[in-house]
């Protein structure tokens, strides 16, 4: 299959290993990615907190650019995904706003392409069986908890994810890799990333509290690592937890590449703050 690809700003910087692992895994699964021509930032929290029309116009510019290729668009970053889906929601619901945004952006929005996250594409279009066949190294001994966070799931009528209180798609993907996925109750709890990454000094304490809680609960569930599909969650979980509770954090695509024997993991894991190599080494996986 072939899809348009919107990396977004994070995947060119702090989330580089997500970009590289999504590309590696997509190639191995015959998903051809075509990057949206001359894309721009989705505006993220900064735009929707301060200027409603700008927060719709910024993703709309990218959606209109993607429509030229007439393919569904894969958006790996949960924050970008949320902004794209929110823009789509408002543009389809409100014709007056749509006309206004089209004038602001300088292009027509058709609304014919689907906005999709790689979890959804891999789970539904590739499927667990096909994925299992690609696995060359079972991730035995790895006990991850799947951490979905906020923006892939909420609000449900905008995101249209399978189950917004107990999602299972990432769990199922990890099981297909041979990992022993641990059940836990914090799959969809917020890590506070949009706040703590931004406001470095005076709410720093809040960030540690929120991430430490997730790490502690993952430990209580018997996990030895956390798995995410969001570069904001990754940056926050990986950088803002106390040493006493921290566990390694992976992008789900990094573990897919590891299990599928693809090149790259050795470079990606070096980029993480919490070193995952001792854990993987002790399990004979790396």
């Amino acid at each position: 299959m072939k899809v348009s690809y919107y990396p977004g700003c994070s995947l060119h910087a702090t989330g580089k290993e997500y970009d590289q692992s999504v590309k590696a895994v997509s190639k191995a699964l015959d998903i051809e990615l075509k990057e949206i021509d001359d894309w721009s930032c989705c505006g993220a929290t900064a735009a929707h907190s301060t200027n409603f029309k700008l927060s719709i116009a910024l993703p709309a510019r990218n959606l209109i650019a993607a429509e030229k290729d007439a393919m569904d668009v894969m958006v790996p970053c949960a924050a970008c995904f949320s902004r794209f889906k929110t823009a789509e929601h408002h543009l389809k619901k409100n014709q007056t706003l749509k006309a206004e945004i089209e004038e602001i952006v300088g292009g027509k929005y058709q609304g014919g392409i689907a906005i999709r996250n790689p979890i959804d594409i891999i789970y539904k279009d590739i499927g667990k069986d096909a994925l299992e066949k690609k696995v060359v190294k079972q991730l035995k001994g790895l006990k991850p908890v799947a951490y979905y966070g906020c923006l892939l799931l909420r609000p449900p009528d905008v995101c249209e994810f399978d189950d917004y209180e107990n999602p299972i798609q990432m769990d199922e993907i990890l099981k297909a890799l041979g990992a022993e996925v641990m059940p836990w109750s914090y799959k969809t709890d917020c890590c506070g990333g949009s706040l703590t990454l931004g406001n470095m000094s005076n709410v720093k304490g809040i960030g540690f509290k929120m991430v430490d809680k997730l790490m502690t609960m993952a430990r209580e569930a018997g996990a030895n690592c956390l798995v995410t599909a969001c570069p904001v969650c990754m940056a926050n979980l990986d950088e803002r937890s106390s040493e006493s509770v921290r566990l390694p954090v992976f992008y789900f695509t990094e573990l897919m590449a590891l299990a599928m024997g693809l090149p790259g993991p050795e470079n990606w894991f070096k980029m993480h703050n919490i070193d995952s190599r001792p854990l993987l080494g002790s399990l004979g996986l790396f």
Binding site: C9, S10, H12, A13, T14, K16, D38, W39, S40, C41, G43, A44, T45, A46, A47, H48, S49, T50, N51, F52, K53, L54, A57, L58, R61, N94, E103, I104, V105, G106, C150, L151, L153, R154, P155, P156, Y164, T188, D189, C190, G192, G193, S194, L195, G198, N199, M200, S201, N202, V203, K204, I206, M210, E239, K270, M271, H272, N273
Partner: protein
């Protein structure tokens, strides 16, 4: 004249907040409740009571992380996350000095960074934020560590058609 409540409802453009029957499910699920000066449920009541200044001066509207748990769980579909966006925008328009100043400064640095290159250049954006907030030295160690691990990309490609990017900012001023 339009009341505070009417203005908030008009700008949310969805379910009117009077639908709230104060079950406090939003507040129970909010991850930042313990840090806020007024919890979400109180903010809704305060809007109904016309307490414009208190609401727009609260820390609550800036501490909301937009995790969307409130709207997801509200039995009456009151879009509280959208309400928080609306309140932040009203605070900015009213010229209120935000209770959490650095949060707005971060948003401003982020947006002005988009205006420069169309995409976020994280190192440059952090410099812009530090100059705006005056908070020059926090997180220096983390920044250096990220740089060493190859996490920062000071020369990542920019958007070429910057005219179209600037146009969006000008037309939504």
């Amino acid at each position: 004249m339009e009341t505070f409540l009417e203005e908030v409802n008009r700008r949310i453009d969805g379910v009117p907040i009077q639908r709230c029957y104060h079950c406090r499910k939003c507040t129970a699920g909010c991850p930042l409740t313990s840090e806020m000066d007024y919890n979400i449920n109180k903010i809704i009541k305060m809007i109904q009571l016309g307490m414009r200044d208190e609401v727009l001066n609260s820390s609550t509207i800036w501490l909301c992380v937009s995790c969307e748990t409130c709207i997801t769980r509200c039995p009456n579909q009151v879009d509280i996350a959208r309400m928080m966006d609306v309140l932040r925008q009203m605070a900015i328009e009213s010229g209120v000095t935000p209770k959490e100043k650095n949060i707005l400064k971060f948003h401003e640095a982020f947006l002005s960074n988009i205006k420069i290159g169309g995409r976020i250049n994280e190192p440059l954006m952090m410099v812009q934020y530090k100059l705006k907030s005056g908070d020059l030295f926090s997180d220096m160690a983390m920044g250096m560590s990220m740089l060493m691990r190859g996490k920062l990309a000071p020369f990542s490609p920019r958007t070429k058609d910057m005219k179209s990017v600037r146009r969006m900012f000008e037309k939504t001023k």
